[in-house]
Amino acid sequence: MPSVYADQILRAFRQAPWRKQVQTVAALSIALLIIAVIGGFYLAAASRAGTAGRDVQRLEGRKAELIQENDELRAKLAELRSITRLADRARALGFAPAQMEQVEYLPVKNYPQPALVEAPPPEPVEGPPRAAVVSPGDWLAEQWQSLTGSREGIPMPGG
């Protein structure tokens, strides 16, 4: 029976010891390959992360330097533009502050001007003035007092 022989040969082939070893080696090789590939990817990624980290460190440092430089330049510029310095420089160049009478005002269309707020007119006064705050009688009495009594006055502020 040829089929019986064939089965026996196949079984013997499947159960051959070298066959199992080949399978084991292949499985290990595949596992190693996978680990190597993953390791490779990991190393590549880690290397890139490290490089990126160094870049971040470098850029943070550069950023700090530029901010510092910018601040210093801004401060220097402001110092050069300070009004005391500009006024001294202008004076040295022969300029003088504009005087009121030297200024001529011209109408310029759409020139921004503060809104004109008209103050209300003074209250009209009608009729004779109201009673004096101090009557002539009081005034005479005060004069009499000032003549007759030597009184300590308090120091007075004024205009």
């Binding site: 980290g53 160094r54 801004r74 300070s82 009121m100 005002y105 003035p129 705050v133 000032s146 502020p157």
Partner: protein
């Protein structure tokens, strides 16, 4: 028999090694934001930041102590012996100097880069530094920044003090990692906001130049000037003498770092009569034409009040009372009004209350009222001409600005705009009160214009512009009375009266050339306003009306 290696996986050891690794590879630190800058209303920089350094030595890293010691000794004016000792210290870090200027820091860096000397172990750590490019300009308004015990920048006085929280921003805590694999971008702290002030740099400069000129011209011991816009309460300029440079406050500490315009209280004298007259007019007790017989003396609560010149002026009207600055007249008005009406008006003018200005250390002033243990009936008379009442210059300017602004008193303020992260917040003018009617304000303004044109303060007049104002010569209180020789000469005025755009108060402390406000502060006001109208682009009244009509 012998052991080459032992790996200890105990919990304590793992913890120790972990900690050691973290100490070496990372450090927790605070990321501080840059402090916000301060600008004037037109964007001119008034306060900004640059860098200074902290200079230290890390002894374990020093290779050539001699190079380090001699180089630093030359640059820092420190003894070589001290520096050599520092390089040999057991400590990991020795602070040599803080702060070191940016120029010196750059010089040390350059020397290190040249390689001629070995400066290994010398550490330069940048530290933030506040700079005021204008030097003394607006120093009392701005205040200054110093380091607190934690090494943080803190604003003191002025805008720096009042808006410290806004300017400082918020620092964030984060971990700085040194191993490149773990490095992450630094956390971003909330930046300090930039502040735009209502100050006009040119006006501020004019104010300070005028102040310095007044000190020389009139031999004054000090003084203050404030310029505000009465229509919206914006402070355009403000200065006091003596002043200081906030860049050098450590080397030259200011005698008084506070801003006397908001913190200094004084008895205002005759400039205060404006408020008394406002109360009398607004209560309906008098009109400009109401006659008054001036006897040169009046008795109030047992005290005898005389005029400043000691003379009796006879029959005058209310304009005359202001024109001659008659103490007797004003004391009679307050007495006739009675304490309730008089003090109510003063209170609505804000006397005795802080204005709420956005500057540090504002004083409230002092107004004694009936019922207070130190109030006497005579105060009713003396308060009428500004004696026995304490105000800050800003309080007086704010109160009088109500008269300039048609009876509406605006809150004085210094902040115009806040900018942060491209967002902008603009301050809106606030009404502080309406102490008098618009009609009263107009009437009193006209009276003050007339009294100025006819009276002792004519030096304050500016050709082409109608100006309202009042002189003042206040005596200085001393224990037991008033100094007989020293005064505070002052002038308060505004213009143009039909559309007021500025109100100026000038106080001169103890002027020696003349004690009178009419001879010192008034002409100073006139000279300053002649420049001020040019800076603020205010045409003369005729030209302004003609331009407005076109």
């Amino acid at each position: 028999m012998f052991q080459l290696l032992r790996i200890d996986f105990s919990r304590d050891n793992r913890k120790y090694l972990n900690g050691l690794s973290q100490t070496i590879s990372q450090v927790q630190r605070e990321f501080a934001p840059a402090r916000g800058r301060i600008f004037d209303r037109d964007g001119e920089l008034l306060a900004t930041n640059d860098v200074q350094y902290e200079l230290g030595i890390s002894p374990p890293n020093v290779v050539t102590p001699k190079d380090v010691a001699t180089t630093l000794s030359d640059l820092l004016d420190k003894s070589v012996t001290d520096l050599v000792l520092a390089t040999q210290s057991d400590r990991p870090y020795v602070l040599v100097q803080r702060p070191v200027s940016a120029e010196l820091g750059e010089l040390i860096k350059a020397k290190r880069a040249e390689g001629a000397v070995d400066l290994d172990g010398v550490d330069l750590t940048p530290i933030p530094h506040r700079v005021y490019p204008g030097g003394q300009l607006a120093s009392q308004v701005l205040g200054f920044v110093a380091y607190n015990q934690d090494g943080r920048q803190v604003g003191y006085f002025g805008v720096e003090g009042f808006y410290n929280d806004l300017l400082a921003g918020h620092s964030v805590k984060g971990i700085e990692r040194f191993v490149p694999f773990d490095v992450q971008p630094d956390p971003t702290p909330d930046q300090g906001a930039d502040l735009y002030l209502t100050l006009d740099r040119d006006v501020q400069y004019l104010v300070e130049v005028t102040m310095a000129d007044a000190i020389n011209r009139y031999g004054a011991a000090g003084g203050s000037i404030i310029v505000i816009n009465p229509q919206n309460g914006e402070i355009l300029g403000m200065s006091s003498w003596p002043t200081y440079d906030p860049n050098n406050y450590v080397q030259s500490p200011p005698g008084d770092p506070e801003n006397p315009v908001v913190s200094g209280q004084y008895e205002p004298g005759s400039t205060f009569k404006v408020l008394t007259m406002a109360a009398a007019l607004d209560s309906g007790m008098v009109t400009p034409q109401t006659p008054f017989m001036d006897a040169g003396l009046v008795e109030v609560g047992g005290a005898f009040i005389r005029n400043w010149s000691g003379a009796a002026y006879g029959p005058v009207d209310m304009v005359g009372c202001l024109q001659h600055s008659l103490n007797v007249c004003l004391a009679s008005l307050s007495t006739q009004m009675g304490p309730t009406t008089f003090y109510n008006y003063l209170s609505t003018f804000g006397v005795g209350h802080p204005t709420g200005v956005d500057l540090a250390a504002e004083a409230a002033g002092r107004l004694k009222v009936p019922g207070d243990p130190d109030w006497f009936e005579s105060d009713l008379g003396t308060n009428a001409f500004g004696q026995g009442v304490a105000l800050t210059p800003l309080q007086l300017a704010t109160a009088v600005s109500a008269i300039a602004n048609g009876g509406t008193m605006m809150q004085p303020h210094i902040l115009l705009r806040v900018e942060n992260r491209k967002r902008s917040f603009t301050t809106q003018p606030q009404v502080l009160g309406r102490p008098i009617k618009p009609e009263t304000a107009a009437t009193l303004t006209e009276m003050l214009v007339q009294s100025l044109e006819r009276g002792e303060g004519s030096g304050a007049l500016v050709p082409g512009y109608r100006i309202a104002g009042k002189t003042g010569t206040a005596q200085i209180p001393i224990p037991g009375g008033y100094d007989e020789n020293k005064t505070i000469a002052s002038f308060i005025g505004w213009g143009p009266v039909d559309a007021p755009q500025f109100l100026v108060l000038i106080n001169l402390d103890q002027p020696s050339s003349s004690i009178w406000g009419s001879e010192t502060a008034a002409p100073l006001f006139g000279d300053m306003v002649k420049r001020l109208v040019v800076l603020l682009e205010i045409p003369p009244d005729d030209a302004r009306r003609a331009l407005a009509g076109q």
